[in-house]
């Protein structure tokens, strides 16, 4: 029974520390920007500079997506003249940048975060509310504990 209790505690611990959320930064209005403050839970995994670089790059890309420039004005006016039916056929500027962001996140995961046991999730999957870092290396420790428990139970049953 003692093994089961420690297993549950560890699982609960894993549930609490398994994800780190970086919230939105609203200081410049409703634009999609994320906070660059380095969370303490990531201290052992990545260095501060790397983290800030990633979040700043994401912020820049979202700013580019929402930028009010001549291209967006032309797109908006053209859309208005056609009663916005072009949105049904054409991919909007924002969607193009979102694809770029998805590719960037995949690249960052492959090169930097996966080797350190982290997984960066695309904020669009969370409704652009948070950027989350998931811890993926916990499972190896859990498997060791599970296998030990399994052996113990089997040995006990025989």
């Amino acid at each position: 029974m003692a093994e089961t209790h420690s297993l549950q505690d560890m699982r609960q611990q894993a549930a609490i520390t398994a994800k780190v959320f970086i919230q939105r930064d609203y200081s410049s209005g409703t634009m999609c920007q994320f906070q660059t403050k380095f969370p303490s839970e990531l201290e052992n995994r990545i260095d501060k500079q790397q983290f800030e670089e990633t979040v700043r790059a994401l912020n820049n890309m979202y700013a580019e997506a929402e930028k009010l420039g001549s291209q967006s004005y032309i797109e908006g006016c053209l859309a208005c003249l056609t009663a916005y039916t072009v949105f049904l056929c054409m991919e909007t500027h924002y969607e193009k940048v979102l694809k770029k962001i998805a590719k960037y996140i995949q690249e960052q995961n492959d090169k930097i975060y996966a080797p350190r046991g982290l997984l960066l999730t695309d904020p669009i999957e969370r409704g652009l509310r948070v950027v989350s870092y998931n811890f993926v290396s916990i499972q190896t420790e859990q498997i060791e504990h599970f296998s030990v428990l399994f052996f113990l139970i089997r040995a006990h049953s025989r």
Binding site: S28, G29, L68, S72, Y73, Y84, Y94, R126, V136, F146
Partner: protein
């Protein structure tokens, strides 16, 4: 698709050992035999919305008076084209039905787009995020019995803005976001819930709504003008105005337009003012930035330039829909069984591979996995031994 390459585990999916596995086991053998149809996210959407065309079209649950709006527009325009246009084409110019037709098509398309587009609904926070926010609120040191006031203050362009916590969606609402009680959703840049279009008006469909009311005011004014001209011409040529009114059914558009043109023109004017000052109806009604409380408050979202305000509201890049209605649900049991199989070969480095694989797969997925792997008996034995 991206996550397949990584050995990510979801602690929430880990089941606790159940004391009575027998009934569970029975149910899941039956479920496993049925072919499981992959479900889309709109089928489990928590808000009060209805979906059509497999999630492509979204409307509020209460369609309000949208059928009435459509009916009025169709009937008025229909009567105009049938009874007034032939006379006016003969006596004036054939441009009239063309202009009328263009305006009518414009009004109809923008109305349908306003009604059927996602207004900017924010998806509800996942359990992990909600727990994280709760932890942060508790950490601010409030140990009293009463729940702490759930507001957060942020500084936007030197203006203090209070963000409220939404108990339904379990997150702090972004600025300018409001929870619509009719649709039970948090909507970004919430303007108002319009019963005439049967949907909320928010960030994503405000430009459709504005185009709709402006083109509708043009159409109403145009029909009003044309019908008046028609009746005036008839009265001149014939036996007087009263006889002209009685004779032609073209008088009905006149009546409808007369009563509606003032309110529609008023609404267009009001929304033009809102667009020029980058305000929402919600903020205007509440007086958030009008300084009623005596403080020096200004609208922090305004660009202080009418032209830039108009462009930012109407010509900004179209934001994407955040609710992903047509995406497939990830938490499918069959999907989890598949992923467990994928992960086994990567653990080959460990010597106890068979045991590890069985134990991990058993613990990772809910009960259906137990029925597919041979290690079913030890699981039940495990549960029994634990309890």
């Amino acid at each position: 698709m991206k996550n397949c390459e990584y050995q990510q585990i979801d602690p929430q999916a880990l089941p606790t050992p159940t004391p009575t596995p027998q009934p569970h086991h029975g149910n899941d053998t039956e479920k496993k035999k049925e072919p499981r149809r992959p479900r889309r996210k709109w089928e489990v959407f928590p808000g009060k919305n209805r979906f059509y065309c497999d999630g492509r079209i979204i409307v509020a649950r209460q369609s309000g008076v949208l059928p009435l709006t459509l009916g009025l527009i169709l009937v008025t325009s229909g009567l105009f084209f049938i009874f007034d246009c032939p006379f006016l084409v003969k006596h004036l110019t054939s441009c009239i039905p063309v202009i009328g037709g263009v305006l009518f098509v414009f009004v109809l398309i923008t109305l349908l787009q306003t009604s059927f587009t996602d207004p900017g609904i924010l998806p509800r926070a996942t359990p992990d995020e909600a727990a994280d926010i709760e932890k942060q609120i508790d950490n601010t040191g409030n140990t009293s019995y009463r729940p702490p006031p759930r507001t957060k203050e942020v500084l936007i362009n030197q203006q203090v803005v209070k963000l409220k916590y939404c108990f339904t969606c379990k997150m702090f609402r972004p600025p300018r976001t409001s929870h619509c009680s009719l649709c039970d959703n948090c909507v970004e840049r919430f303007d108002h819930h319009c019963p005439w279009v049967g949907n909320c008006v928010g960030k994503r469909n405000y430009r459709f709504f504005y185009t709709f009311i402006v083109s509708l005011s043009f159409l109403t004014a145009f029909i009003f003008g044309c019908v008046t001209t028609h009746l005036a011409l008839r009265a001149q040529g014939g036996k007087g105005l009263v006889f002209a009114l009685q004779e032609s059914p073209g008088r009905y558009p006149l009546v409808i337009c007369f009563f509606s043109v003032w309110s529609i023109l008023g609404l267009s004017g009001f929304h033009t003012y809102l667009v020029a000052s980058n305000l929402t109806t919600n903020e205007d009604i509440k007086g958030s930035w009008s300084g009623k409380s005596g403080e020096d408050v200004t609208n922090p979202y305004s660009h202080k330039n009418i032209f830039i305000n108009c462009c930012s509201v109407l010509c900004a890049p179209m934001p994407p829909s955040l609710i992903d209605r047509r995406g497939f649900l990830p938490a499918d049991e069959s999907a989890q069984t598949g992923s467990a199989d994928i992960e086994l070969p990567t653990l080959a480095a460990k010597s106890e591979i068979n045991v590890v694989g069985a134990a991990f797969a058993l613990q990772k997925s809910p009960s259906p996995v137990e029925t597919s792997l041979p290690a079913v008996a030890p699981t039940q034995h495990l549960s029994a031994a634990c309890c």
